[in-house]
């Protein structure tokens, strides 16, 4: 039997990282119209023209344009905008370096370690995260979490709507009486606390694994932990562009012989696309509601 799966190990690991980064730019275009057009054009050219994929000019231009996007709309851009700029810069620098693969691997590892480190630090510093208020409010207010709240939290659409109305009441400088709708059920409270604990635990674990010296102790769990983070987080919070970048960085720090790990990363990339395109959690919640 011969086919694409047998030839998988022949696929250059560096090319795979570059292609997945460009695919992220195509699937999740960034910037306003003036920047979006050249970024999208460069990403499409890199994907379609093999000779263009490794060109340092392509990556330097993408680093410049994604950096411009952050600078011109500062302080509004989200984490994805910054990470995209850092990653394009890392790839551009690797194209100028003598050992490009190593430079990219080191940047991938430390960008992951630091971004998860700062994300964990912010969660530990925020009192409304530590006492689970963040998820108790977000699971009710943020429409992206509605399916998850219905399916796992056991709330009906009517209960969520009532809670939203209570949480969105507005009285500047005044006082509002507490409303029962904001504490919908004991099961929901457990869900909010479990989500809080899981989020901070998995992010701290990824930080430790990526900071630890390679091939020792927790560092051996780097890839499974990062994949577990992506599989669980993006099933609920569909922040696909950010997730795809994490996978590209994870792949970049993988050793060449880790074929199975690379397949797992690639499958996770596809899974995040599935999460984005198929509202599976809503469908499952509807099915549970009907039965």
């Amino acid at each position: 039997m011969s086919g694409p799966w047998q030839r998988w190990p022949e696929l250059d690991p560096l090319d795979l990282v570059l292609r997945l980064t460009l695919l992220d730019l195509v699937l999740r275009p960034v910037g306003d119209w003036a920047l979006r057009f050249p970024i999208l054009g460069l990403a499409a050219a890199g994907l379609l023209l093999p000779a263009f994929l490794r060109r340092r000019e392509l990556w330097a231009a993408l680093a410049l344009l994604t950096g411009l996007r952050v600078a011109l709309s500062w302080p509004l851009p989200d984490n994805h905008a910054y990470l995209l700029c850092y990653w394009c810069l890392a790839i551009a620098l690797s194209r100028f370096a003598r050992d490009g693969g190593r430079v990219l691997a080191i940047n991938g590892r430390w960008l992951l370690a630091l971004l998860f480190g700062f994300a964990t630090l912010w969660k530990l510093l925020s009192p409304d995260f530590a006492d689970a208020t963040f998820f108790r409010v977000t699971l009710l207010l943020d429409p992206r979490f509605e399916g998850f709240t219905r399916l796992v939290g056991g709330l009906s659409i009517e209960q969520i709507d009532a809670a939203r109305a209570a949480l969105e009441r507005h009285a500047d400088g005044g006082w509002l009486a507490p409303v029962a709708a904001t504490r919908p059920s004991a099961r929901f409270e457990v869900l909010a606390r479990a989500t809080t604990l899981w989020t901070v635990a998995i992010e701290a674990a990824v930080t430790i694994a990526f900071c630890w010296p390679k091939d020792r102790g927790p560092s051996r769990l780097r890839d499974p932990l990062l994949i577990a983070f992506c599989v669980t987080t993006y099933a609920v919070a569909t922040v696909d562009g950010f997730g795809w970048l994490l996978i590209a960085m994870g792949l970049a720090q993988c050793a060449a012989e880790q074929t199975r790990t690379r397949v797992a990363y690639l499958a996770t990339y596809a899974l995040i696309l599935f999460y984005r395109e198929v509202d599976w959690i809503e469908r499952l919640a509807n099915l549970v509601d009907r039965t």
Partner: protein, 145 residues
């Protein structure tokens, strides 16, 4: 030769160094200038309810004995979003200047333009929302003229 290699190492680590500098600056700005943890490149998304969408802004044209609220026009939407995300005095002043000529039905020259940035906090026990003034700025209009 060593100097060249060290320079190359620093250049190759540039993305990581920039991430650290930006993230530390974001932490500082969040602590001192009320920058929303969700913005500024510090990876504080999904860590707090204090993001720009939970903040809102009121602008008032002030006359002796009278304070009339004015609504920012859609053309200033991005300025408003920036002021909500990072309400520095400079940013609030710039927004106040842009709103200073907003017409109101009142007579007499205005003496000032006041801007208030509010955020919503939720009681940890009951989740009851309550708004608090995060930043306040008064632009004396006489001074501007």
């Amino acid at each position: 030769m060593n100097g060249f290699r060290n320079g190359e190492r620093v250049a190759n680590a540039l993305p990581v160094l920039v991430l650290v500098v930006v993230a530390l600056s974001q932490l500082l700005l969040a602590r001192t200038q009320a920058l929303s943890a969700w913005s500024g490149g510090g990876f504080g998304m999904f860590s707090t309810l204090d993001h720009a969408s939970q903040r809102h802004l009121h602008a008032f044209v002030v006359r002796p004995g009278l304070r009339r609220e004015v609504v920012a026009p859609p053309a200033l939407a991005e300025e408003v979003a920036r002021a909500l995300t990072l309400p520095t005095e400079a940013r609030l002043r710039s927004l106040a200047v842009a709103l200073a000529n907003t017409p109101t039905p009142d007579h007499g020259p205005p003496t000032g333009l006041q801007i208030q940035v509010w955020n919503t906090r939720f009681d940890p026990a009951t989740l009851t929302p309550a708004s608090h003034i995060l930043r306040e700025f008064l632009l004396p209009l006489d001074e501007e003229k």
